[in-house]
Symmetry: none
Subunit: 192 residues, 4 copies
DNA sequence: TATGAATGAGGGTTCATTCAT
DNA sequence: TATGAATGAACCCTCATTCAT
């Protein structure tokens, strides 16, 4: 049992910064985003940011964590559904529902992965892990469907999502996501 | 004997810069790349770069043009093949052959599209056009195969490539590209 | 007893920069003056200047404001004198007293007006307003003297000053200012 | 067919450059004007400028000479008039006729004097000489009118012109020049 | 003479990070 | 803890001047 968790630091300020970072980094990109941008979005004085995060990289890391946490929540909700097909299709529906955001800024984890790859820090590993979690989960679903090529199918599914996210974003065309989502749905049905 | 077209302008210096830009921007990303980086890669003094390109953005544009030109060449070569299936599979093979480069730096056009989207310049439109050319070409192939859902299939194919490029890059796993390429090959065969 | 307004911000640093700008810009001219010049004159690190002024133009603007403020102070002092003739003559004496500075660098507002006119920013309007204030004040004095051509006389007076400032500066001849000042004094006496 | 006067250098190219320099420097100011600007205005390739003028300063000098030459021509024309009053009034009329140009760019020699004063080169002396010529000429006219304060009057006249030019330019108000010109005319009449 | 191209020094500006309180 | 202010390295870009032909 954890006792109380000594709270001297303003409650949630760190979380507010992480959430702001996740959002602003998604919208503007890592390089285009200033610490001041994030601080402003979180309504925290610039100088104070460094009390919670020693470097900009740590803030990016926190944003990745936020994405990971969000992914876990999504997966948790999906797991409540009865069949793997239901779960996968619900995932697709979630993607489709986010199509407007995706058209504007791309997939949050995908664009982050793309950006962080060009940097020397170890942050690319962190974001890779997040995507890995999603792939692993998808693999489990396909396995539950009795497929022995579950890994390959999982890769194909996530790749399809990442790819169409990029196209949706590039052409600012949310309908691309809808169409591809529907196509993937039919594809899943065809696998049983 | 080559005819004596007096070459005052150092021959191809502009092209050398554009090519260097295309490469370095791919490897390092747009924001991480300095003009000095490009200048060095092209072995051109920094100040001289501005004789050929008035801004950094123009250099990025030139890099995009270089990618477009390269794409046209690739497509031109593919068009020499007899059947649309042959042409599409040859495209897949090209992607697979480039898997090491993709694992290191991602798809040149895809990462560029992702990055440029976060910027205010009109460069995102330029890279969008390049990708559009590829989609259009793929659409023609599926059409030649007698499919009336050729557009959707084209999107699916290019999205699959972009997506698996991102994963290949994120996990530094060239094999992902190989596996997905093979899968797409079977998929194409199944469409006839 | 001074109230204890806690001074975190280095007191008057912004003002120090503005004052330094006013002086250095006057001495060297706007284009010839580097931000580093102003920073050095104010004993402020270059990078820190941007904490107070986002662009060089803003610094120029601050310098103009400083001139405006100074002008208001001068006018305020003059207004304490009994008759308009006294006030105008006191103005002339002020010009004469500054003759050495004028010989070296010209009239602060005049040279600034001349320079800023050749630029695309709206700064020319700002300096115009400063000069307008002086003209308006002079007009009031002539009006108080009962002249119905007060506006024309005001223009003539300020023009005479600006013109002789330019000659004083061009020929590095402070005596020109003295002589013209005396002449203008007689002219004012002749107007009653 | 005239041979004479060995013409190897393109005839008048140097003059064209000097004239272009005079105009562009007046319009844009010395610091804001690049060599390329002048070269373009004279329709001469940039590299070729240096065959005629070794430095930018020499071009400025040439522009000053052009102004000097122009002034001599003006004075020459004025000297044809019968009385000194006529001559001085004709000078005033010339100023009034140029009021639109003055409103846009100020007095060509005055603005140049103002700018060159802030520079370390000896060019300020050159422009000072030009203005001196005008003052000397005016002095002669007042002398011919029998005034023993001719020098002071000359200074007053030229100062009035320079000053009102600055105001005309600052306020973009050509009418200021007209009004002050008329006033000076009455003043001259009053001196006899 | 003529000319496109080359060169390098310097200027304005941004921003992650640190400091002092 | 909290915060405004400070710092300096680096970047993009301009331009007078020089070079090579």
């Amino acid at each position: 049992m954890t006792h109380s968790k000594s709270v001297r630091r303003s409650p949630g300020k760190r979380e507010r910064l992480a959430a702001a970072a996740a959002q602003v980094l998604h919208e503007q990109g890592v390089e285009q985003t200033t610490l001041a941008d994030i601080a402003r979005a979180a309504d925290v004085p610039v100088g104070n940011v460094y009390y919670y995060f020693k470097t900009k990289n740590e803030l990016v890391e926190a944003a990745i964590d936020a994405h990971a946490q969000n992914l876990r929540a999504v997966i948790g909700a999906l797991d409540a559904l009865p069949t793997p097909q239901d779960r996968l299709k619900a995932l697709l529906n979630g993607w489709i529902e986010q199509r407007e955001l995706t058209a504007q800024y791309g997939c949050p984890t995908g664009t982050l992965a793309s950006e962080l790859d060009k940097r020397a820090d170890g942050l690319d590993q962190a974001i890779a892990k997040v995507i890995q979690v999603l792939i692993d989960w998808a693999e489990q679903q396909f396995q539950a469907m009795g497929r022995d090529d579950s890994r390959e199918l999982a890769i194909a599914l996530i790749a399809a999502y990442q790819g169409v996210s990029l196209l949706t974003n590039t052409f600012r065309a949310p309908d691309l996501m809808t169409a591809e989502g529907r196509r993937l749905e039919r594809w899943i049905d065809s696998l049983t």
